[in-house]
Symmetry: C2
Subunit: 338 residues, 2 copies
C-alpha cells in the first residue's frame, strides 16, 4: 500500500478535508438519551460523551469493543541543554519495560481492555537540539507523522495516544508557546521532576528555540518540524488518522496535547473528534486545555505520560457508552416519567 | 446465625470497636510505590489510593477481584409533602428495572465487573412522614441497618453502596442539617428535578422535620431513626460492616454520604475506610463532602444515585491497584532512577 502522504504539503491536504460527525446519529442518540430510565441530565457528562461517540461512530447505540492505546517513543537533542531529571537512556529502557508489561500503561490498558501498541522511533538518532537548528528535516517529520498514521488500527473504535521521551516536556513547552502564544515560562513545567537549576535551563532552552525559529512560528506544521520530535509527530499523525476513520480519541497530557495542537492550529475544529482525558499535574497542561477549549474528564494529579491519563479516561468513555446503549427506556421498563 | 446486633445500643457497640488499617502493609506498599518505574508521585492520586487499599487489605500488593455494588431501595412518608418530581411508585418500578438489567447501575456495575445486589426494603410500607413523627421505630431502623450489614459479601474486596427512593434527597437534606449543622436551605437541592414550588415545599418539610425532632438532633443514630429511611439505614449498616471486614468502600452521592455521616458523627474516623467516589451535581453534595473531609475522585456532573458515581469511581480504584501491584520496579525492569 502506498503511503497516505509523503510530503508535508500532502499532509496539509488531509487537514483540508476533514470528515464531520454523523448528524442523524447525533439526533437519534440525543432522542434515545431523553428516553432512558433516569431523570433528564442525571448522568451528567456521561450523556454528552455517549452522544459524541454516537456521532463519530454513526450509530445511535454506539459500542466500544476494540479500544486501542498507542504509545510512541522518541529522543531529543535538546536534552544536551540539561533540561531533564533523567538521562536520555531511560527512553529505551522504558520502551523495554512497555514490552515486558511492567509499566503503568500496561496495567491501565489492561483495565481498559485495550490493545497496546508501542512504537519506538529511531531512539538512537535523537532529533537535533532545537536551540541549534530545526529538530527534524522534512523527511524525518513526514516519516514520523506517517508512522503514527499507519499505527492506528482501522477497526478500533476508541483511541488513546501517549508518549515516552526524555526531554519532551521541554519540546512540548516550545511547541505550545509557538502555537498558542505566551512566553517560555508560561509553558515550561517540572516534567519528571527537574530541580530549580534545571528549570532555568529548560526555560532558557525554550526561549532560545523560539528565537532561533522565529521565522516559521506561524506555520503549525513547521513548528512541529523545527521544535517537535518524532514521537510527537507520530501522535499528530495518529490523531489525524483517527479523524479520517471517524474514531473518537481520548487525549492524554501536556505532550499529547501539544501534538494535537498542531492540528487544531492548522485547521480549527480538527480536534472535534477528541476529548481531553485528564488534566495533568504538569504545570501548563490546564492552560493548554483551555487554549484548546477542552474540559478534562479527570483531575487526579497524574503527570506520567505514556498515555496513562487517556487510558484511565477511556474507562469513563466506556462507561458512558455502556449506559447509553445498554439502559432501558421508560417505555421498555414500565417506569413512569417525571 | 444470630443477628450481629438487635438493638441500636448493640449497633453503638460495633461503632466503639473499629478495626484500623494494617500499618505494616501501608509501610510496605509505600516502599514499593517508591520503587515502581515512574517518577515519584507521577501517578498522583492513584498512588495514595493504592496504598490506602493496601492498608485495609493488609497486603503490600492488594488486588481487587471481587468488587460488590449494593443498591438499597426504600419509600418515604415525607413524599406526602410534595417534595419530588416523581411519584413514589417509581421506586418499585426502578427496582424492577434493576432486576431486569435496564438501569444505569446495571451497566456501570458491568463495566466495573462488580456483582450487583439489589435490596428493596418494605416498599409498600413507607416510613412515617418525618414532619409528623419519627420516620422509623427502633425495630424498623435496626432491621434496616441489619439488612445492609448482612448484604455485604464477606469475600468482597471493594464495596460501593447506592440507593433508590423517591423523596430521599429531602430525607438526606434533613439528616445532613441535623448531623452537620446549617439551615434546611443549605442542604436542600433539586433532587431528580423538582420545580421552584416543589423546592419551597422541600425546604419547608426539612425545616419542619428539624423542629419536630429538635430533642434528638445531637444523637446521630436517633437522627437516622427519626429523619432517615430504610434504604439509608441499610447503607449505614453496610458501610459499618465493610469497616469490620476491612473492605474499602467507595461512597456515592448526597444520600449515601448522609448515610455515611451517621457513622462519622457517632465515631470520628469511622469512615477512614471510605473514599468519595464523586461529587454529584445535587446541590449540597460538595458541602457534605467538605464536612466529611473527603475530596472526590470524579466530578462529572452525575446526580442519579443508584450507586452510579461510586461504581464509576470503582474503575479508578481498580486502575490504581492494577498499577501498584502490576508494575515493575526500577530494579526488575533495568530502568535508571532519576
Amino acid at each position: 500500500m502506498p503511503p497516505a502522504f509523503d510530503t508535508l504539503d500532502a499532509f496539509r491536504g488531509l487537514l483540508a478535508a476533514l470528515p464531520e460527525p454523523n448528524a442523524a446519529a447525533v439526533a437519534a442518540a440525543t432522542a434515545r438519551n431523553g428516553q432512558l430510565t433516569k431523570p433528564p441530565g442525571a448522568l451528567g457528562r456521561l450523556e454528552t460523551l455517549a452522544i459524541w461517540v454516537a456521532g463519530w461512530q454513526g450509530s445511535a447505540r454506539p459500542t466500544i469493543a476494540r479500544p486501542q492505546v498507542l504509545v510512541f517513543a522518541g529522543n531529543h537533542g535538546v536534552t544536551a541543554q540539561g533540561v531533564s531529571a533523567y538521562p536520555a537512556a531511560v527512553t529505551a529502557q522504558m520502551v523495554a519495560n512497555f514490552g515486558s508489561g511492567g509499566a503503568a500503561i500496561n496495567q491501565l490498558a489492561g483495565v481498559a481492555r485495550a490493545t497496546l501498541g508501542v512504537h519506538a522511533l529511531d531512539l538512537d538518532l535523537p532529533t537535533q537540539d532545537f536551540t541549534q537548528g530545526p529538530a527534524m528535516t522534512e523527511t524525518e517529520v513526514v516519516d514520523a507523522l506517517h508512522l503514527g498514521w499507519a499505527a492506528v488500527d482501522p477497526a478500533c473504535d476508541l483511541l488513546a495516544v501517549g508518549e515516552m521521551g526524555i526531554g519532551n516536556t521541554t519540546v512540548a513547552a516550545a511547541m505550545a508557546a509557538a502555537l498558542h502564544g505566551g512566553m517560555a515560562a508560561d509553558w515550561a513545567g517540572r516534567g519528571t521532576g527537574v530541580d530549580d537549576a534545571g528549570m532555568a535551563r529548560k526555560t532558557a532552552a525554550v526561549t532560545a528555540g523560539l528565537a532561533r525559529h522565529a521565522a516559521i512560528l506561524a506555520d503549525p506544521l513547521e513548528v512541529l518540524r523545527c521544535l517537535g520530535g518524532r514521537e510527537i509527530a507520530a501522535m499528530t499523525g495518529a490523531i489525524l488518522r483517527a479523524r479520517h476513520l471517524r474514531v473518537p480519541v481520548v487525549l492524554d497530557g501536556f505532550i499529547a496535547c501539544a501534538a494535537a495542537s498542531v492540528l487544531e492550529r492548522a485547521a480549527p475544529g480538527a480536534l472535534d473528534h477528541c476529548v481531553a482525558g485528564h488534566v495533568s499535574a504538569e504545570g501548563a497542561h490546564a492552560r493548554l486545555l483551555a487554549a484548546l477549549g477542552k474540559p478534562p474528564l479527570l483531575d487526579l494529579g497524574l503527570r506520567l505520560g505514556e498515555g496513562s491519563g487517556a487510558a484511565l479516561a477511556m474507562l469513563v468513555v466506556q462507561a458512558a457508552v455502556a449506559c447509553h446503549s445498554g439502559m432501558a427506556t421508560f417505555g421498555e421498563a414500565g417506569v413512569a416519567e417525571g
